[in-house]
Symmetry: C2
Subunit: 463 residues, 2 copies
Amino acid sequence: MCESSLEKSGSEFPGGHPRRADWVLLNAEWIVTCDSKMQSFSSGGMAITGDTISAVGPSHLIASQFTAQRTLDLKGCMIIPGLVNTHTHAAMSVFRGMKDDLPLQRWLFEVIFPAERRIADPDMVYWGTLLSCAEMLTGGITTFCDGYFFEEAAVRAAMDSGMRAVLGQGILDTAAPDQDGEEQSRDRAAAFIESFPGNIGRLRPSLFCHSPYTCSAGTLQWVKAFCRKHRVLYQVHVAETAIEVAESTALHGLRPVARLDELGVLDTGTLCVHAVWLDQEEIRILARRGAGVSHNAESNMKLASGVAPIPDLLSSGVTVGLGTDSCAGNNNLDLFSEMDKAAKLHKVFRKDPVVCGASQVLRMATLDGARALGWHDDTGSLEAGKKADLTIIDIERPHLAPLYDPVSHLVYAVKASDVRHVWVDGVQVVSDGRVLTIDVPSAMKEVKRLARKAGGLDGTSIP
Amino acid sequence: MCESSLEKSGSEFPGGHPRRADWVLLNAEWIVTCDSKMQSFSSGGMAITGDTISAVGPSHLIASQFTAQRTLDLKGCMIIPGLVNTHTHAAMSVFRGMKDDLPLQRWLFEVIFPAERRIADPDMVYWGTLLSCAEMLTGGITTFCDGYFFEEAAVRAAMDSGMRAVLGQGILDTAAPDQDGEEQSRDRAAAFIESFPGNIGRLRPSLFCHSPYTCSAGTLQWVKAFCRKHRVLYQVHVAETAIEVAESTALHGLRPVARLDELGVLDTGTLCVHAVWLDQEEIRILARRGAGVSHNAESNMKLASGVAPIPDLLSSGVTVGLGTDSCAGNNNLDLFSEMDKAAKLHKVFRKDPVVCGASQVLRMATLDGARALGWHDDTGSLEAGKKADLTIIDIERPHLAPLYDPVSHLVYAVKASDVRHVWVDGVQVVSDGRVLTIDVPSAMKEVKRLARKAGGLDGTSIP
């Protein structure tokens, strides 16, 4: 039983009148709140007013205390917080499955980078991001944290999709599709942040230093200072491969995370993406600085990067969220699949079926993911007063019967395709599996057009 | 281009009349045949006559050479062979997610075995198996290889479902739900095989010796002799955990697979399930004897059993199929998810993104799976003359755009929920995602009733 919600919402009114809400959701078989106590309860209901959750509680109490124009009976359904994808490069759906099963360097230098040189531009970023938003929304993801080039176009796509998003302009000192060298990259950073639309609460800007090996110390620090000044999230890929660690140690005498700490860029406003190769001291550093980690199990597996020390990070108190990485190398944007993989990967790697239990993994995909992005006051759990970001799952399906434990099901049995309805910021964006905000066939058509341009289709050869 | 099919089918008839078929499938965007050359081609068609594939080839040739009462336009779809699930205990869907994240021995002895004692009977086996068939069919699986108790009830469920199946009566020397001790287990084996309905070509009997540690040497050998006499598949769980290997070595001076070889039970009619902990000599033994292996990546990950040496088995020429294991411990029966996991698990475990490529993994889920069951003459690939077991996938979905390579998509991007139509033995059993042979709501209702009886629901406590 979820004790807190109706009280918090102030909706107990013996003898009073029902309160008005925009949406009342009733009779959910289960509500999994993902609040700090990971409370779940059956026969639940919710009320949504504007962009905010007014109340979460027993269905009969919600029914008696709220009236709304739109009421939805959720028999046979489960309500969970919208999932939080802490790492992707959404535009790269254009390269989904372009070439697989190659060594990382060949894949990057012979397939992806040349394809980016051929087609990365605002048009590609807009359509690739929009298609990714469609995929994420239909899979129950309401918030994503992005990093790419021409990120203004990703902002437009996120705006059109209705999703909550942290949108990070990518920064490199080497040549990139929308910048060329250290000075230009700083101009790009400044231009992006300063032109970011300030009037849409569900969109936040960010800067994404590609990595400690593609950005100079000066750039890493300058960008962090700029992020601090503008109070925006600083993202960085770090310690993804063993080679990166060896090179950092050889060049700088420090492992990557230790070096980022020496450069002073680790704090609660920093998101370390991948963080696969960490020693114990680096885990302590991350915990001490309060930096978040985005764990990308499928990407790390498929590219054979390694297995991040997630159980150690969690037991050290580091905030860990889950991320899909780009679907160029994954090859999807499916957090249900990521949850299942993360739970199972760490068990077999640690030879311990108890580590990364369902509840812990579900938290990584919801509240802890939101916390890693610094957005947990608004999203990541179902609690009165938070933004109404929620995902409704149809549990009346053969692969979900019987149901002993809703949290177990969410990690080990539910699939992205079981998502039926989704709300972001109080607005319904998916209804019966259909995205209401995006013309999906058009987005698919545009992405297929771009894929032909990228090569590998219609006779254009790829390596 | 698939060169072989139309020629093989004898359907080239310059100047002749079109042949009659029962089904003509046209305009598939892709056909992935999974034949010995792993040929795929675009704009494909197929003709089905009775239970057999009459032809596979370019759509325009199929259209000009066949007439049929029922023609299906498969624009936006891909045709693949029906998937082959080489290992499950289908009845155990009743225990799906009953308890997770426990050490194996506690899970077995405190959760699963007591639940089986409470409810395993023909009623439970029938409904549990039938629900599993619904899950497998909607996920594109056309053949499954089963092992459980009261297996006659599983035979009835498989019969009703329309699936192709190898149905194995479980054999233990210790107490089991439908037998008690060595003598009785032999009677059960004999009774099962001798009463097996011989008139349904898509069902085959089998015996499943639970393991070398729960069956005596005498039972292992007696059952194998009985299987040889009746020419049926002999299944055995072997080398699943490191503890099993240590105990076998201590008790018998031999590792499990080496011991099975010494007992003379390994040959092309034996399926070794799990085969996680093998040394190089045991891999050579499996290759020499021609025994098949069922690889259960998700089960091995979730139970932290270990990582099977699949790349070594494959390079040694051992036939490896994929299996879901029971959904009590997995917690689903999804071979698309198994393919994705297997491909990614071995990459990260071997630190090599090249191992277990998409093509190799897809073969394990199709033709090699059929081969491991000794049924590759009939199923596992789309070739004229084989039984018509096929799965149609809707590729016009946001998470499948663009499509550079159909085989990559099948392993890394397609989900079970993308399955649209399924044929088994020439009969359409799934249409637009709906199972035609099973009353799915009834099966779900019955399984929920059994789950309440099993404990853990409606107030009955589980450990």
